[in-house]
Amino acid sequence: MEGFIHQVISGIATGGIYASVALALVMIYQATHHVNFAQGEMATFSTYITLTLINIGLPYWVAFLAAVAISFVIGVAIERLLMRPVANAPVLTSVGVFVGLLLIVNSLTGWMFDYTIKQFPSPFSDKPMLGGFLSGHELGSTGVTLAVLISVYLFFKHTRLGLAMRAAAFNPVSSRLVGVRVGWMLALGWGLAAAIGSVAGCMVAPIVFLDPNMMSGILLYAFAGALLGGIDSPLGAVLGGFMVGVIENLGGAYVVGTELKLTLALIIIISVLTLKPSGLMGRKVYSRV
């Protein structure tokens, strides 16, 4: 029983990482109806930025926040420079750009920071906490993740800018008619998604170690989480992310074994898409034929 509880709790801890990446995916999906395949690679790149800043001597949290800010700017720049020109292009064009972006960021990361696996420091103590159920890092990273999710929620729910960003995603035409600069809202969405990815990268890197492909598996879990919760529902994506974390841990421990854990993500993706494409909390879209 104790082992089971341990698996659930540490599933929640990794689930928090999936939840933040899933939220980043959903934020861009809501505004553009495309999934940003490069979200994971962008987060990896941000994590390297943090490591570089730590290595030049900055304290952990200063480096962390600086990397979040830099990632935000990079996200905005990518939307303005790369996505803007293809905003009205057919779906396949956008998919092509996303795949290209994934390869470019991945190779750029390897070229700038090399491909060797690196250790990444955790700002939290490595002592076991909560009666040995969680490591200090798991507890700390879950706290950081929750803080991020809550502040994102508050931002969207209670600020003018957050409201304008939601409006621009739901109804760009009406948003322009009340004076919202829809193009910039999109760019801000990219910036926020990149910033959230940066946090997720820094929180997961101490566990999985840092290399240019660090996030590729995690992106798959996050995608599974986003689909499970509903790809157009931010709250659904967050809950889905946590659920996938728990399912992955329990499945890995008791059913399929650790080697086949990633299969669980694929099973979730395929099951959701075939059985309930709108996810648990997503909107069903009906159209007349």
Binding site: R160, L163, A164, R166, A167, F170, N171, V173, S174, S175, R176, L177, V178, G179, V180, R181, V182
Partner: protein, 236 residues
């Protein structure tokens, strides 16, 4: 009287399809101008052209300054509010959030005070304040759309078929309130309507559109009195 909106030689097209073929019309300061015409005459396109939502040629002057070719957001910020075809409700958001968006370009504190004025015109919005806007009836959504537009504190209000799909009694109610709004808000109105009777009773000037051209123009009272116009164009 000077013209707040002065349009000269307005052409508009969707891709290859030309919709407007050189319109000249004006909206007087503090006045109500009606654009009448059948389906497909180009009424909605005319409003979209003023807001920079379609590609146009010709001159559009707002308060003496050219606005053609500007981005929609910038035209809106100059004081042009558009109640679009289909009402443009943010269905997923609450009534309150819809109204906050209406006042998006203005300081938040001013907006909250203006909400009370809107509730005075449309008490039903107050009852529905926390409700999701998609659950409102058609008439309530029209009231919300008008409030959202007024919260911008516009100089010019563009109204696209406020009567569309509404029961006659509700149309009457809304036009009654529109009269109060014209008198109390000091806003000039360009109204597009298929319901000529109600539009001509409300407007000062009217233009009749047929396949992208203005065929008749003049004071609304003259047009509504003219037997032959009424019979051949307005059909009542």
């Amino acid at each position: 009287m000077t013209a707040l909106l002065d349009v000269k030689g307005l052409h508009a097209a969707y891709g290859e399809t030309k919709v407007l073929h050189g319109l000249d019309f004006a909206v007087q300061q503090g006045g109500v101008t009606a654009l009448l015409g059948a389906n497909g005459a180009g009424k909605t396109t005319t409003l979209r052209a003023i807001c920079g939502m379609v590609r146009t040629q010709g001159a559009i002057m707002l308060g003496g300054k050219p606005i053609e070719g500007m981005a929609t957001e910038d035209i809106v910020r100059l004081g042009v509010a558009h109640v679009p075809d289909g009402r443009g409700t943010f269905m997923e958001l609450t009534v309150e959030e819809n109204m906050r968006l209406g006042a998006y370009t203005r300081p938040a504190r001013e907006a909250t005070a203006d909400f009370e004025r809107m509730f005075n015109y449309f008490p039903r919005l107050k009852e529905r304040f926390r409700q999701q806007a998609g659950t409102l009836s058609g008439g309530e959504q029209q009231m919300l759309a008008i409030s959202r537009a007024l919260l911008l504190r516009p100089k010019l209000l563009l109204l696209d078929e406020p009567s569309f799909g509404l029961a006659p009694l509700i149309v009457k109610e809304i036009f009654g309130i529109m009269r109060r709004i014209r008198d109390e808000e000091g806003v000039s109105i360009l109204l597009v309507e298929q319901n000529a009777t109600i539009a001509l009773a409300f407007a000062d000037d009217a233009y009749l559109l047929e396949t992208g051209r203005i065929v008749i123009s003049g004071p609304a009272s003259d047009i509504s009195k003219d037997e032959s116009i009424r019979r051949s164009y307005l059909g009542y």
